[in-house]
């Protein structure tokens, strides 16, 4: 595996030739905000939070989906990128009904953490306040669509790691909703193995274990990567 050298924010770093800019940056201790990325899952480049500036490219590129090249010059933290990231996080908060004070994930929530990271002091956009349902038909888990950010981490964890594909998305645009099987209540989704990987993967309090209450939901999303790594080692 050949090595590549590149600069991120002016610092020279080295990376393996098949690494993404995101991987190389994190290895070098440079933080790039992400939401739809989760170690161990495929990249979809959907949240647009990891967009970076690359010298010579007029378009911003998602760090999670861009492979390093020799001599690449990357900027991850310019005022332009900061403004975009803050706007995207604000748009997410305005899209559904995110009320930290009554959320199981408060204090352990990636969306909440992102808001702090990007310096979101208030939301400039109109709250859309959509009418979202809560599905607690499953014996062990529940999903509160009010808190879903449509990152599809649960969809990919279920499909790629558990190999089941219980989860998917129905509908278009802001009307898109997570569904189980062919849009039946989760408890009736016969394909679900109740493995809980979707729960591990969820960045917010959207998917929760039943019985947990405000701020109780702590989970370790890195277990998905551990499972994948363990399988790769053994098989």
């Amino acid at each position: 595996m050949a090595a590549r050298t590149l600069t991120i924010n002016g610092t020279l770093i080295s990376a393996r030739s098949n690494e993404t800019v995101l991987e190389a940056a994190r290895e070098a201790g440079i933080s790039i905000p992400t939401l739809c990325h989760l170690d161990g899952l495929s990249e979809v480049g959907a949240c647009r939070l990891c967009l970076v500036e690359i010298a010579g490219s007029p378009k911003l590129q998602p760090a999670c989906h861009t492979t390093v090249t020799e001599g690449m010059e990357v900027q991850t933290d310019t005022p332009r990128l900061k403004a975009h990231r803050r706007a995207i996080v604000e748009l997410l908060f305005a899209e559904r009904n995110h009320i930290c004070a009554v959320c199981v994930a408060s204090g352990h929530c990636e969306l909440q953490q992102l808001a702090v990271e990007v310096g979101m002091s208030h939301v400039r956009y109109e709250y859309l306040s959509p009418d979202c349902s809560v599905d607690i038909s499953h014996a062990r888990f529940g999903i509160d669509h009010n808190r879903c950010v449509l990152c599809t981490r649960c969809v990919r964890a279920c499909d790629e790691v558990e190999g089941v594909h219980t989860w998917d998305i129905a509908g278009r645009g802001t009307n898109a909703r997570l569904i189980t099987d062919l849009n039946v209540p989760w408890g009736e989704a016969t394909s679900c193995t109740s493995c809980g990987k979707c729960l591990l993967a969820c960045p917010t309090g959207a998917i929760f274990s039943r019985g947990s209450t405000v701020a109780e939901l702590e989970r370790d999303a890195s277990r998905i990567a551990t499972i994948v790594a363990a399988r790769n080692e053994r098989w």
Partner: protein, 539 residues
């Protein structure tokens, strides 16, 4: 096995079986909607009743272009053109062949709407019966494919397309020859050719008309492309809202297979090519190439980040060539007439012709094919004939929800990829909506934003929720409820979507807003609420 001689024999047989008089009746979607099928049957009955069966043939043909004047009927030999024909007028038309009186409204071939056009892609529209391969072969069809397979190497074909200067007609204008060369050079066990017929811009119907009027032209173009890039399987992705186009393509594919023009060892060479139709389920975003590929693969129609481009990593991971319907329509004519002929038409960087769907507040609506470089003024005023009631023209919208509005002051802009981009719009797939002085530009922007909001797939955050916020802000401005701060937020969102959206739909969604703000800003500002100042000292 089909040989060149067989093509010539078929063409000759077709020409000799023709009757003395051919009457063309348009049976495309537009004219069908105003009763063309009934008219077609009445014309046949009238021929029968007049005992003219030996002499007169009624041919159901594809689109003649002047859709606003449909149903259209033309008499081939003497070039008489009838407009707005009602079924009960059929006997009158048949009687007029022998000098009988005829009060049916007649059109004029010398009218600028026809005279200023140049037909390459639409040359068979309104001339041949799209449901019979024999008619296509009689006008020289499939000879370009024969020529390519027997006399040209794939590299020579790509070179010809490159030298012709043809650029993608789907909207972005990527050089077609370069795209073909990339697919040809990409390593892969298999390769695919896809024809993008998921035309979805409001008011655009160029591709529908081409597919309905001349399906074999597209099959021939795809076959030539497949030979050039080394593909053996093609897919025609057509939106489900085009049932007639799908039916005619199915028929055309069956006919081409029957005559060994699709299938194995075409024209007795080692070239194999099969084409299947995939019907889109109504999502606008499936016109985006990576979403279209996902849809063909049976997955949810959503785009993915590029690179890798489909040319290297496309359908099921194989190198894939995707071109628009109109692009494929140009291929056979380029091979037949030569790259230099094609490169001689149009402007320096935009070659050939472009088909536009001319609609809106304009006297002559329909499909036009004009050489690149014609000015917007010529199109709107000469071909279009200005507004129906003489109200001054305010502007024209090109490129649909990804395009922009061009004000009347800039109507001398020539129609080519670079010039349209310079004035803040795009060529797009070819929708051209004329707007008069009564048109409210904020409402136009709101209309297109609502379209983008409804059609956003929901994958990336800026497009999914940004379009909703922009639509709400535009509604607020339109209702007179917005402030200058709202307008500033709208402009920031335009910038955000352009720079951060995942695919072209989101990146270009701000175009209608930004172009109307650029040229008609006072219409927005007039609607803003004034800041209310409260004088506290007077209390």
């Amino acid at each position: 096995m089909m040989e060149f001689q067989d093509l010539q024999i078929m063409a000759e047989q077709e020409r000799t079986r023709r009757k003395a008089i051919r009457i063309h009746c348009c049976t495309s979607s537009g004219c069908q909607a105003s009763g063309a099928l009934e008219l077609f049957h009445q014309l046949q009955a009238a021929v029968e009743a007049a005992g003219q069966n030996e002499r007169v043939d009624i041919i159901g043909v594809g689109c003649m272009g002047f859709c606003g004047q449909g149903p259209m009927v033309s008499v081939e030999a003497d070039g008489v053109l009838f407009e707005h024909v009602r079924p009960e007028q059929a006997p009158e038309i048949i009687a007029s062949l022998d000098g009988g009186p005829c009060n049916v409204k007649q059109g004029d071939h010398a009218h600028p709407f026809f005279a200023r056009q140049m037909h390459i892609v639409r040359r068979n529209g309104g001339v041949i019966d799209p449901e019979r391969i024999e008619e296509y072969i009689a006008v020289g069809g499939y000879q370009a494919l024969y020529h390519v397979l027997h006399e040209m190497s794939p590299a020579e074909v790509i070179d010809a397309i490159t030298r012709s200067g043809l650029r993608g007609r789907g909207g972005a204008g990527y050089p077609t020859g370069l795209k073909w060369a990339t697919v040809a050079k990409s390593p892969g066990e298999r390769k695919f050719v896809i024809c993008n017929g998921d035309e979805g811009d409001p008011g655009a119907f160029m591709d529908r008309s081409i597919l309905e009027s001349d399906p074999h032209l597209i099959l021939e173009g795809m076959s030539i492309a497949a030979y050039a890039v080394g593909a053996d399987q093609g897919y025609l992705y057509v939106r489900g809202e085009y049932p007639l186009a799908i039916a005619r393509l199915q028929k055309a594919i069956a006919q081409a297979r029957k005559h060994d023009l699709l299938g194995s060892q075409i024209f007795d060479t080692s070239f194999n090519f099969r084409v299947d139709i995939r019907v889109g389920a109504g999502a606008f975003v499936c016109g985006e190439e990576t979403a279209l590929i996902a849809s063909i693969e049976g997955r949810r129609g959503q785009p993915r980040p590029r690179p890798p481009y489909p040319a290297e990593h496309g359908l099921w991971g194989y190198p894939t060539l995707i071109n628009n319907v109109e692009t494929f329509g140009n291929i056979a004519p380029i091979i037949t007439n030569g790259a230099d002929w094609y490169a001689g038409i149009g402007t320096e960087r935009s070659k050939g012709t472009k088909v536009f769907a001319l609609t809106g507040k304009v006297r002559n609506t329909g499909l036009i094919e004009v050489p690149m470089g014609m000015t917007i003024r010529e199109i709107v005023e000469e071909l279009g004939g200005g507004t129906p009631d003489g109200t001054p023209v305010k502007g024209v919208q090109t490129g649909g929800p990804s395009g922009g509005c061009i004000p009347e002051a800039l109507f001398d802009t020539p129609v080519d990829y670079e010039s349209l981009a310079e004035v803040g719009s795009i060529m797009g797939s070819g929708g051209m909506v004329v707007m008069d002085a009564t048109t409210n530009m904020v409402e136009i922007a709101r209309f297109y934003m609502e379209f983008c909001m409804d059609e956003s797939c929901g994958k990336c955050i800026p497009c999914r929720t940004g379009t909703v916020q922009m639509y709400r802000l535009l509604s607020k401005i339109s209702a007179g409820q917005a402030t200058a701060a709202d307008l500033a937020t709208l402009e920031q969102l335009c910038h955000l979507l352009r720079e951060t959206s995942l695919c072209g739909l989101g990146q270009s969604a701000p175009n209608p807003v930004q172009s109307t703000l650029r040229y008609f800003r006072e219409e927005y500002e007039r609607l803003l609420r004034k800041r209310v100042t409260i004088n506290l000292t007077s209390r």
